[in-house]
Symmetry: C2
Subunit: 424 residues, 2 copies
């Protein structure tokens, strides 16, 4: 028997999801003009409502120490006039992006005169689970509506007051533009069971996007009855080819490994051609020790390293997200590609080489969402690839691969016009 | 403890899937020319090997009565010189289709000089479960290789000899063109457990495509650890608007309902505007009774029908696949759209109208893979939409929607060229 509280929670979640679906039926027909005006006006009103938003943020900050947040987490949670200005700027930037909805992807007139259009349309309703950053609330709501989707926002409880203040401004602006406020709903309960309830509702929710730790994503994949847009790991490699510019390689590797260690496109593993290992690895060790990075190499690499630690089989699959780099020595490009295809999480893998044929072979045969030649793995990012705003990144192959922006939140339909056509 | 036989089966399935993955690493780099030459030469050799294939088909036909196949099933299983000629023609037609692999989907040079390409690439390994039709074996193998994918073919046991004979010809031709024969593997065991084993192997298999009854598809969705390309139902509607040409409507409805009743794009439910019901429904009843089709209508429709059966709530969701048509009367376009969005399986839904605004509103707001204006629902088919060969149809929204041809068996990757670029 379920308790009254459970029934209440289920009926709350049902109501949110059902209302989101109803809103999505109107959103799919909104003009680009209305969506952009809403974004620009929301941007203005967020700035003019800064004092209220900061007040709400104070409530969250007051709870932060009770919740035991780290200094870094408190920093991410903290809003200022400057940060609200950046959130507002983000909305204006999304207004400048091309509207994917209505794009004619393909079309033809068949020999029998039937007119076929393949047209880009919204997915419908998104369920977005994310970390406690108030800016993500505004960003996700903006990306959803611009791509014609309704969104159910489930942020961390740490930021609930700030997120509510932001969404209230965007909802009231929506009303003024004829956009149903149910298009952007914040989950008002912080009950952990609510996530499980929403994950059952595939009659109303078309896609779930979990952002957070691996255990959250595993739980969502296990429980979701609708598709999940996700990535688990970023075990990113760089292969230093025998034809690599070693100075350039050191710079790129330092950036890929050290610029931000805790992110999914950071470098975790180096594959090095045997013919340059003796020359390259001591230089790398000097540079990496200066950055406090431990090197875990295979047996052969140990002869070139002073303080190398012997790598185990687990190291080849590890996403350290910290100051460790694994090293594998190979005898050929083919061997490098085989190693990467076996152990990579297929997020981002790179090659350093001045040889065109090696670059092209690597780009063709490495089966990853992004393959990078002579550049840092850190460039696999929606902004850096020129997509504008992104809501997440996918290491799956189906539907969307790599950074997911407006277009990745759409599907298509065939629209067929005839004049009494029948099939013979 | 698993038995020896279970271990044997598992290791057989592992071996097939692993070899398919290895083959797929080579397939992704095959030139269009090689793939097309293989298709054309396979086509020739299927025709020149017709006697052997017919002999193998005799073995299947000899088993057909033991297996208790219906007359229709035996007809689908039976090969003739003419049918082998059609299979061969199918391969030559696939050779003429554009190769999706290597298509530059999008690209730009970023302000920092980084060159970004979004390039279409194969998915990898497909696991295809299908009914016992030998022509589908050849077709699926051809579509897979043309789209750069390896395929594991699990056909019905009824056609195993015919399928094996066809695949042997295509594999030996593959060898002559440097295409790994493991690219097209027929599952050699008819053990039902083999499907379950393959569905576990997401380290090697990228997509499963089940074609068959709903219970098979449900089982595959429940057990698969990789994405599934599928459709369950085709509960297709036509809405006869108040501005419809009634003569044209009768012709289109007859075609949609009666041309082939057992297919997924056949008409199952009619939605009729109140203002034309009294005029239209008696004509419809006359026509449908001539086709042996029973009408199951709502209460209001009964006043216009002589022999109408009262519909129940279940009728609105039913896919009859036979001589029954449900009828609902509505007072407006909005009501028609709401009914269809609620009960449709989102496969194919149509409107009959001469009013442009109604047609456009219906096309925008009906959330189905294909929306058809003034034409039969039977046109939602890869061939009819001009896609060439198709391997299945999807009512999902993610990845692919509607008929799935070569392009729907692909994904993309980002290829990024730099010159020592680092992120700042």
């Amino acid at each position: 028997m379920s308790t009254v509280a459970e029934n209440d929670l289920a009926s709350y979640c049902h109501s949110v999801a059902r209302r989101a679906k109803v809103a999505s039926r109107l959103l799919c027909a909104l003009s680009t003009e209305v969506k952009n005006h809403w974004l620009i006006e929301s941007s203005k009103r967020l700035e003019s409502s800064a004092d209220q938003i900061l007040l709400a943020n104070q409530s969250d900050l007051a709870n932060a120490s009770i919740l035991g947040l780290s200094t870094a987490a408190i920093d991410r949670l903290t809003l200022t006039h400057g940060r609200i200005g950046k959130i507002a700027l983000g909305l204006r930037e999304i207004a400048t992006l091309p509207d994917p909805i209505g794009e004619l992807i393909d079309g033809s007139t068949r020999p029998n005169g039937l007119e076929i259009s393949k047209v880009r349309v919204p997915l419908g309703v998104l369920f977005f689970i994310y970390e406690s950053r108030p800016n993500v609330t505004a960003d996700a709501a903006a990306i959803a509506v611009k791509s014609g989707n309704a969104i159910i926002l489930r942020g961390g409880k740490e930021a609930i007051h700030s997120s509510r203040a932001i969404i209230e401004v965007m909802q009231s602006t929506a009303c003024d533009f004829g956009i149903p406020p149910d298009a952007i709903q914040l989950v008002e309960t912080t009950d952990r069971e609510a996530v499980g309830e929403f994950l059952k509702l595939n009659q109303w929710i078309d896609l779930v996007i979990p952002r957070g730790g691996k255990s959250l994503i595993r739980r969502v994949v296990a429980e979701a009855t609708m598709p999940v847009l996700k990535h688990y790991d970023g075990n990113c490699h760089i292969y230093v080819d025998q034809h690599a510019n070693l100075g350039m390689s050191l710079q790129v590797i330092e950036n890929a490994k050290c610029q931000r260690m805790g992110v999914c496109n950071a470098l975790e593993s180096l594959v090095v051609h045997r013919s340059i290992a003796a020359n390259f690895l001591p230089k790398l060790e000097l540079q990496m020790s200066g950055n406090g990075v431990e090197l875990r190499g295979d047996v052969e690499s140990q002869t070139h390293l002073k303080k190398g630690v012997l790598a185990t089989e687990d190291d080849w699959s590890a996403e350290y997200l910290g100051p460790i780099l694994s090293i594998r020595i190979v005898g050929s490009l083919d061997e490098a590609i085989a190693h990467i295809n076996q152990y990579s999480s297929h997020h981002t893998d790179g090659i350093m080489t001045s040889d065109l044929s090696s670059a092209r072979t690597f780009a063709t045969l490495v089966d990853s969402a992004a393959v990078v030649v002579n550049a840092s793995t850190r460039f696999n990012d929606g902004g850096e690839l020129g997509m504008g705003a992104e809501i997440g990144i996918s290491t799956d192959k189906l539907h969307a691969r790599g950074p997911c922006g407006l277009r990745e939140l759409t599907t298509y339909k065939y629209i067929v016009y005839g004049n009494g056509h029948v099939r013979t």
